[in-house]
Amino acid sequence: MTKPEGELTWKDLEIGAIVTEPGSAAQYKTGDWRSQRPTYDFAKCIKCALCQIFCPEGCIHQNADEYFEADLFYCKGCGICAKECLTKVITMVEEEE
């Protein structure tokens, strides 16, 4: 996309608002739907990857230290990772905290 969505005028759109750039959905920030975000106590983490398997958004990846962590650009804050974590690594906190 040449411009960010918020700057596109009606004249910038392709006919029928057809999207000509494959994979452009990756630019869509679903993270701003979030009201809670996950926080981590990695000392308890056994790197079992259960959070990654359960994440409905597919946004949990291993960080530089190989701990599993959500990409907040996409994380919608559903809390499923916190619920499923066997060793209670993840705590959901309100976004304003």
Partner: protein, 391 residues
Amino acid sequence: MAKKVGMEVSVAIGEAVKLANADVVAAYPITPQTHIVEHLASLVADGELDAAYIPVESEHSAMSACLGSAAVGARTFTATAGQGLELMHEVLYVAASMRLPLVMTVANRALSSPLSVWGDHSDAMAVRDTGWIQLFTENGQEVVDNVFCAFRIAEDQKVLLPVMVHLDGFHLSHVIEPIVFPEQSEVDKFLPPNHYPLVLHPDKPVTMGDFAPPIIYSEAKWAQEVNLRASKEVILQTWQDFGKAFGRYYSPVESYHTEDAKVLLLTMGSFSETAMTVIDKLRGEGREVGLVRLRLWRPFPFNEIRQAVKNAETLVVVDRALSFGGPGGPVCSEVKSALYGEAKKPKVVSFVAGLGGRDITPAGFEEIINKGIEISQKGSDNEFEIFGVRE
């Protein structure tokens, strides 16, 4: 040399679609449209038309299949009527919003309930705001001519929108009329090959009908509106070019003996032909009456309507559909909107008539005109009247 033949109008539409060399027909049979797709199925089965005929399980599927077909750049045709058009409803919006050129003939039929297979314009009015270009026709020749025009308009690079060609169910679809068919070479010359610019193809993937968050939806809708309004220029040019090529000219609003007419009748569809004979009779009696026939329903020809009726004192509008709890007739409502800001305008009287296949006879039109004059002079408590309803 063009051939003149006697043929059922539905069958003639099938022949026109064959001459237009459609690639795909996806349709579901429904009265009074069935003969159109039945004939097309025969043409494909007999190898006379090299097209894919997709028999689907419903009209919703028919229109959905048409979307896919138009999206890969195939020349696409379907036909429906009444309840079938309503079952297509949500997909109609998608076809127009995705800017897919396809052509559909609608043999207009009343909506249930009570169940009626007979004609009126209820089905057309229910899909008024779907974003399709909508043309109304008055006889078999006009339907055939406008099938060719519809493909050319729909596929024009400046338009790229679906087009509905309305014909009155039974009153038009099931009658045998003399129809002039152009030669294949003449059709090929008038109707260039379809080139949809952003086709679905694995070599250059695109996403159609994608989701739009609030930040972009308004822009998408405004682009669609600007495009539909601008399509009128292409519609006018296409009708002009058709006239030059075949000698039959069409325009959004057509006037019949409107010169110096104090009283005008306004109609849409095949009943206009009955109305014309009544105007002839009344003119013969020295009365200053005329007829305005609306052909282009969407985009609505506001200026042409204003021009056509501006010198009249009384305008009697006959609708063949009812807007429940609303302003009576949908056509009349649109005409009133067109005239609202005008300093000089006729008094507008609204009649709804011809519902569910009931005829409006020449005597009926005469009565409508006389009653309209009376109401415009004396006034009426009613916003509109259903003509001929038994009290």
